[in-house]
Amino acid sequence: MATYTYEHTPDHGAKAGVLAYLATSAAVLLLMMVFGLLMRLEQAQWISIGADRFYELMTLHGAGMVGIAAIAGASVMWHFLRQYVDLSSRIFIANLVLFLAGVVMILGSVLIGHFHGAWTFLFPLPGKSMGMWSPGAAALFMGGLLVIGVGFLLLHLDIARAIVARYGNFARALGWPQLFGHDDGKAPPPTVVASAMVTVVNVIGLVVGASILTMMLVNLYVPGFDIDPLLAKGMIYFFGHIFINATIYMAVIAVYEILPRYTQRPWKSNKVFLASWTASTLMVMFIFPHHLLMDFAFPKWMLVMGHIIGYLNTVPILVVTGYGALMIVYRSGIRWDMASKLLFLSLFGWAAGAMPAFIDGTITVNYVMHNTLWVPGHFHTYLLLGMVAMVFGFMYYLGKPDHEADDRLIDRIAFWLFTASVLGFTLSFLYSGKESVARRYAAHLPEWVPYDRIGAVFAMLVIASSLLFVGRFFSRIGLARHDYQRAPVARPATA
């Protein structure tokens, strides 16, 4: 059996680029949360902005949140991966610049051009606006996505380059020799395994996404070139699904890297761990059909495959990560602070968010649930309580004044407020979904409105606690650059 040792070393401060990523994500996150609140207020019938405005907000909210989730996840991955391989700062920054350029294009498209075809730009919507937006606006939106995609493609190619330079190839970076052969304990660390996986799946997703975007751009101007709507949908969901899944696979690196520092127990890349990441690499690429369960036109075998994989995809990494975290923490005498609490919470949130997806994955339920608020309920749980909590934990960690520093009372209150209000917010979605309330802009019967209102109140509390987290990060951003020990040393209970 392999042996692993753990050495306590000071943490590396974040590079300016990482902080720029985090600052961008934090600012956009808050703004998009406010947009989300406005949508919820509309559903609660407290304000009345109308369908067009609603869809504009939803388009911005969806595109913005997915974008910053990717940016924040990339910053976590880049920060830690840099300890093992030689990454290029210039490409890292170039990605942010391209991202911001894409954001400007998208903002222009939505705010000036009134594009509101949703971030999933489902074909043939962008081209069939019935006069509500021009082809120019749709083209600008899709062009913005393409620019963002090019940035991420460059970033992943740089990561691929660095990983190949250090480990020779991806098979070794994913630990296949140890997975399929004798585990000599020399498998790459979890950070490298996760980064390799994300790189492979994202490059595939981005190439598919770029292809369908180009096709739709052509179709926009030359409608004679028909796109099979089912093909378009398949490709869009394939890309979207991979991209959003990848954000959490990047952010979870914070858990792998930070929790061990609190307990002085290393996170091992053992066979089970490696197997789970390899399995999910393959499954992520095949999961997309589960979105299409209701399109009878898809070949049967694809539906069946999507159904089965829809069940299994997240499970391996989730279980292995959750179990690993418990093992690391169990009887370790860990001293909880904001960072470790948020990271631990994030695993719970991720698991909790996967649960409704299981239920949704059952085909019979799928017919009923897929277009209800059940779906936003499911992804908001794992994104807010999982992905976003990981990023908040990372932010707290970077800004921690010293390893003995105690958290302020108000932060501790905000932690519980965040946890409770996110749960309240997502449960209001899930409950409405169970009652078959349609998602997006739809007529809400009077008896549904109370749940929408409860949801809106919780959304405000989510925003309030997030505001405090983000404010704390900005007030400590100067500390984040320095190298020093941040994690408190665990105090194992004396046997």
Partner: protein, 202 residues
């Protein structure tokens, strides 16, 4: 990438020249150009490949000089991009079949404006540059294939609609194949790289 012995280079040039003349010979030309797939997916890539291989035979010193004159790899890639896109235009294909002068332009430009610049640039592109070229090329190939499949009518006067569709499908399949191969190469490439120092950190 080292200098090539002069006589090896001469043999190489002769082989390439022979292949070039073979492609230009009327029977072979009309045979390949009879189908859209033969034209777009065999003749045109081979012409570009001849330019690529010829460049490799030039010797490192000449290649470096040309590279310096062109101003580095990026302008060369852009040049290859434009020139190769041109010959993907259905219009250009038709013209090449109808006008001998255009046909000559095709035979000259593909090796010199596509193959040669790519070969020069390739040495300077790292994994990132090559990956960028590959991924873009692959998605463009797939999109082009789709364009040919989805085109609402005959694109080329010289080819029938079903040829167009089969060429399109071939392109899509080729794109998938190339992509799989490119990804696969990431999994096998590279000699074992011992355990070099971590960049920094533990």
């Amino acid at each position: 990438m080292t200098a090539i012995a002069p006589d090896r280079a001469r043999i190489g040039f002769c082989a390439l020249g022979a292949l070039y003349l073979l492609l230009a010979a009327p029977p072979v030309r009309s045979w390949l150009e009879a189908t859209m797939s033969g034209h777009m997916l065999v003749q045109i890539p081979l012409l570009a490949a001849i330019g690529f291989a010829a460049c490799r035979l030039l010797g490192a010193r000449h290649q470096e000089r040309l590279l310096a004159i062109a101003g580095g790899p990026i302008p060369l890639v852009v040049m290859a991009f434009f020139a190769s896109s041109w010959w993907m235009l259905p219009r250009a294909l038709d013209d090449a079949l109808a006008h001998p002068l255009v046909e000559v332009a095709k035979f000259v430009s593909l090796p010199t404006l596509v193959g040669l610049p790519l070969a020069l640039a390739w040495r300077r592109l790292g994994i990132i540059g090559r990956g960028f070229v590959w991924t873009n090329f692959i998605s463009m190939l797939a999109v082009l294939g789709w364009l040919y499949i989805a085109a609402p009518q005959r694109l080329c006067n010289s080819y029938l609609v079903d040829q167009q569709a089969s060429a399109g499908w071939l392109m899509v399949k080729l794109a998938l194949l190339l992509f799989a191969a490119w990804l696969g190469h990431l999994f096998v490439a590279g000699p074992p790289v011992g355990n070099p120092r971590a960049v920094h950190g533990p």
